[in-house]
Symmetry: C2
Subunit: 146 residues, 2 copies
């Protein structure tokens, strides 16, 4: 398997007011996933996951200005989780080779997730990630629950 | 089943230059889905689908200004497809009842898809939709291929 796998395992939403945003999604009838906290909330969404994370922290993680014009952070990131850390490194390089701008080089984060970010030609942000908790996929690329 | 189902069936990306954007995603190794055209391109992405659609048309469909500050269009919409048109109508009302701002009331589009849009408290846009081609889901809410 080469190239960048066509999958979206997480959709990150950068938020200004996490309690207000969490309450809104809970009013829709959604249950926050295990491990959600005052600083991070996620919801299982039909094979992908929507997460709420502070706007400035998500922009910083993605390596883009938190405010500004067209190419600045727009509040949403899309993640491609991979089977292994090595595979994630390969995928980020595949994106680079395809002409993607790397906004954040791959790094092992303190929360035990390796990730890097690339931007498409219009600034949409893709995270390439490996997590020991999200690394099994079915034939369609849908994440298999741990 | 009541409330708004927790699922993301489509991720719409509003684009400035569709040929450039399509070429980029194809360089990643992704195959454009059947029916992709000069005006709309989509990719199967692990249970959800990423689509490329002209920025102004997607903003107009979602009922928000194409340019402007915080609450204007940011280039991304997230869709919740439903089993039936009636169910989609109920879901949009459930979102309204939960305090969502309805940015586009539900309407049957010429391409045979019923949809309406709501915004979360910070302007992120959710489409509630029914399509005769995308209306079956497994137990996790993952779209079953037609």
């Amino acid at each position: 398997m080469s190239g960048v796998p066509a999958r979206v395992t997480y959709i990150g939403i950068g938020v200004r007011d996490l309690p207000v945003m969490r309450a809104f999604y809970e009013r829709l009838g959604w249950d926050a996933g295990e491990g959600s906290s005052d600083g991070f909330v996620w919801f299982e969404c039909g094979g992908t996951r929507v997460s709420l994370y502070p706007w400035h922290l998500l922009a910083a993680e993605a390596g883009v200005p938190a405010e500004g014009p067209h190419t600045a952070f727009r509040g949403i990131t899309l993640a491609i989780n991979c089977e292994t850390e090595g595979r994630a490194r390969e995928v980020l390089e595949a994106a680079r080779a395809a002409g993607a701008r790397i906004t954040a080089e791959g790094v092992m984060h303190p929360h035990d997730v390796w990730s890097g970010y690339f931007a498409d030609p219009e600034g949409n942000l893709w995270e390439v990630a490996w997590s020991p908790r999200s690394n099994r996929f079915d034939a369609r690329g849908v994440l298999i629950d741990p």
